[in-house]
């Protein structure tokens, strides 16, 4: 599904990612952990196609195609979804309108007809129920005045409506209390399928109590310094990131 090869990325001349190699197969859940400034968010932005980054070396293949040849919206149409760490407010644009425009954009690309409005609304409402979201959110402006938890739920709602094949979640657990974290995690778990892969970017281990990853990678200084199974996350939690740094140093 996703193959990252020797990826080097700079911002304004400063190298942030210093050679990442990662392979993610269909249906797998990979957690990427690391201290602040290790390049986690940069990696998520690079996958989604954000401007302002210079790719100096390496490549990323998505289903065998060069991801860097694809525009931001083409990646979305092809199934790449980024759940934002800080979801953006779009004043005056209702959530329902936004969701419908997004979904129809994707359907159009895939040669499908636009969804009937009634079908669309009932399907979205069902998904909102699962995420414990009030229907009134549909008619509020996108993320405007939402609390941190509401914004994150809204990201997961979008993800469940748009049904991407590669979900990149950038610190989705940050700013959530335990109850909200549980609801969001359940929402993500419901979306797990043999056809869908996840990249969970997180600072803390606690998200992984709810979403069991298949693999855990530790990022430091723009590089994967350690990979392993779920037990690696627990080890990290116990020892702290300094432990990785020490290991690197020794």
């Amino acid at each position: 599904m996703l193959k990252i090869e020797n990826l080097h990325v700079s911002v304004e001349g400063k190298e942030i990612l210093t050679g990442i190699d990662l392979e993610i197969n269909k249906g797998e859940v990979h957690a990427i952990m690391g201290p602040n400034g290790s390049g986690k968010s940069t990696l998520s932005y690079i996958l989604a196609g954000r401007e302002g980054y210079e790719i100096t070396q390496g490549r990323v293949l998505f289903n065998g195609k060069d991801l860097f040849e694809m525009s931001v919206e083409k990646r979305a149409w092809a199934g790449v979804f980024l759940a934002f760490q800080y979801p953006v407010e779009v004043p005056g644009v209702s959530n329902i309108y936004f969701l419908k425009a997004a979904l129809n954009g994707i359907r159009k690309f895939n040669g499908l007809s636009e969804l009937d409005a009634m079908d669309f609304i009932s399907s979205v409402k069902g998904k909102m129920k699962e995420l414990d979201m009030d229907e009134k959110f549909l008619y509020r402006a996108v993320n405007e005045g939402f609390s941190g938890g509401e914004k994150k739920r809204n990201e997961v709602l979008q993800m469940s409506v748009l049904e991407p094949t590669l979900c990149v979640l950038d610190e989705t657990d940050s700013g959530l209390d335990i109850d909200a974290l549980q609801v969001v995690a359940e929402g993500i778990n419901r979306l797990r399928s043999p056809e869908r892969s996840f990249v969970l970017i997180t600072h803390y281990q606690r998200l992984l109590d709810y979403i069991k990853p298949d693999f855990v990678h530790v990022l430091a200084h723009g590089k994967v310094v350690k990979s392993g199974g779920p037990e690696l996350a627990l080890e990290l939690e116990e020892q702290g990131y300094a432990w990785v740094e020490d290991k690197l140093a020794s």
């Binding site: 989604a48 525009s71 919206e73 979804f81 779009v90 644009v93 997004a102 954009g105 979008q158």
Partner: protein, 482 residues
């Protein structure tokens, strides 16, 4: 800066879709302005003596006035002797009695603009007065409206058929001496629309006037007068387009609204005059005086405007709140792109007790556009418990444009309440990236964000106009993101 600025540049420079010229034989006055021109114009229209006298008073006063220089717009000095003050299709000379007698070229012009004049083609709820250069070519549904007691006709016809109403109301809201361009208009106005809604009548359909400038080197000086008598109600729409030309053309209109006790006028404008090309060549100078007077208690007026066209827009639809408990509203979206300039806003003049006013202004600047909100809220000595709420938002696209706000507040009554909120924002890269990451194309994303920004104003427009306004914003901004 980043690539999205490049994209914004591309989006600007969209072709103006109503820029065609109608090939029609016109009778125009030679350029120039003096008392003889005004006499000739008045004679051409068989006007009564009082109107000629009124025009000449205006003209003589105009000669003593200096061109106003206080606005935030720049343009070369206008030579008023180079403008022709009257141009009309030749076929209109004999005054066609019905649509069958109107030149098919004219009818097809309006069809092309999406304004069919045949009544059966129109949406049932809208009556249209079509003004072409200096004359009204047709007014639809006149008879049906007349049955309801509503007078809706061209200004010239009103002068002929209802001189007593003209004499009673003309210049009572905007006098013939009011300001430089209002005085010029009073001297040379050629046509426009006239509406009278009698006591207690709710106008059975939307009324609209569609202004079209066609002839070169002419100015359009029309005058609209709407009177809503006690307890009446009317919704009026106004649309405007012009051909693409390299020369600037002057459009100096005056609109007067009179609202009596318990009456209401809702006045909506979608202004799409030719804005000039991407280098700022050509386009209409839209210098307009619009004012409403809530003359008696509980009168209500609301101005809604969507200004996307014109090289320069310079106008302040205002409300004089004389009657106690009267209400004035102003909702505005002004878009400036390329080298367009807009200095627009409103004046809310409170005299009556418990009067209230609301101002919602949304300015969008793209390209090298300059957008200025200028507003005055004035609370008179007797305006006990008067209230105003003003909200003024600017949206910037790209880094070459400008947004400016000049709110003036004068209050002579300590019980008055005035609130003012203002914001300036940019379409951020974050917003664009977020929308695009969800599969919404850049162009759709910009249009979505801009429409979201304007939502509070669009919801005030009649449905049909709201759709047109949204489409117009889309076209005006198309290509700004790629």
């Amino acid at each position: 800066m980043s690539a999205s600025n490049e994209n914004l540049k591309d989006m600007i420079g969209q072709e103006y879709k109503d820029g065609f010229v109608t090939d029609i034989e016109s009778e125009s006055f030679p350029p120039g302005l003096n008392e003889d021109v005004i006499r000739a114009l008045s004679a051409k229209k068989n006007e009564p003596e009082f109107l000629l006298k009124w025009r000449l008073e205006a003209y003589r006063h105009w000669l003593t006035m200096d061109h106003p220089e206080w606005s935030f717009v720049k343009f070369p000095k206008i030579d008023f002797q180079e403008i022709s003050y009257y141009s009309a299709p030749k076929s209109m000379e004999d005054g066609p009695k019905s649509l069958d007698e109107v030149d098919p070229e004219l009818i097809s012009t309006y069809n092309k603009l999406g304004i069919p004049l045949e009544e059966q083609m129109r949406l049932a709820g809208v009556a249209v007065d079509a003004v072409f250069d200096s004359v009204s070519v047709a007014t639809t549904f006149k008879d049906k409206l007349y049955e309801a007691g509503v007078i809706f006709c061209s200004f010239s016809e009103a002068v002929k058929e209802h001189p007593e109403l003209i004499k009673q109301y003309l210049g009572t809201v905007v006098s013939q001496y009011d300001n430089f361009y209002a005085a010029l208009n009073a001297a040379v106005f050629s046509d426009g629309s006239f509406v009278y809604i009698p006591k207690g009548v709710r106008c059975p359909m939307e009324l609209s006037t569609y202004f079209r400038i066609n002839a070169a080197n002419t100015g359009q000086f029309e005058r609209t007068l709407i009177i809503a008598d006690e307890g009446s109600h009317v919704s009026y729409l106004e649309g405007c387009t012009a051909p693409m030309r390299d020369e600037n053309q002057l459009h100096a209109a005056v609109v007067e609204l009179v609202i009596m006790k318990d009456a209401e006028i809702k006045y909506s404008t979608v202004q799409n005059w030719y804005p000039g090309d991407e280098n700022g060549v050509g386009g209409i100078y839209n210098f307009v005086t619009k004012r409403a007077e809530c003359r008696e208690e509980n009168a209500k007026v609301s101005w809604t405007q969507v200004e996307t066209g014109s090289a320069i827009t310079w106008k302040y639809p205002s409300v004089v709140l004389k009657g106690d408990n009267s209400v004035g509203e102003f909702y505005s979206v002004a878009l400036t792109n390329n080298y367009q300039q807009a200095d627009t806003g409103t004046k809310m003049i409170h005299h009556g007790k418990n009067t209230s006013s609301t101002i919602i202004s949304k300015g969008i600047s793209a390209g090298h556009g300059q957008n200025t909100y200028r507003g005055l809220v004035k609370m008179g000595r007797k305006a006990e418990n008067a209230r105003n709420y003003t909200q003024c938002d600017s949206l910037l696209m790209g880094d070459q444009c400008g947004a400016h706000t000049f709110p003036y507040i004068e209050t002579k009554n300590p019980s008055a309440t005035i609130e003012h909120e203002a914001s300036t924002s940019k379409i951020s890269e974050d917003q664009l990236f977020y929308c695009m990451q969800r599969g919404i194309s850049a162009e759709d994303a910009v249009s979505m964000i801009v429409n979201g920004f304007c939502k509070e104003v669009f919801k005030e427009l009649p449905m049909e106009f709201a759709v047109e306004a949204q489409a117009l914003l889309g076209i005006s901004l198309e290509g700004s993101v790629g």
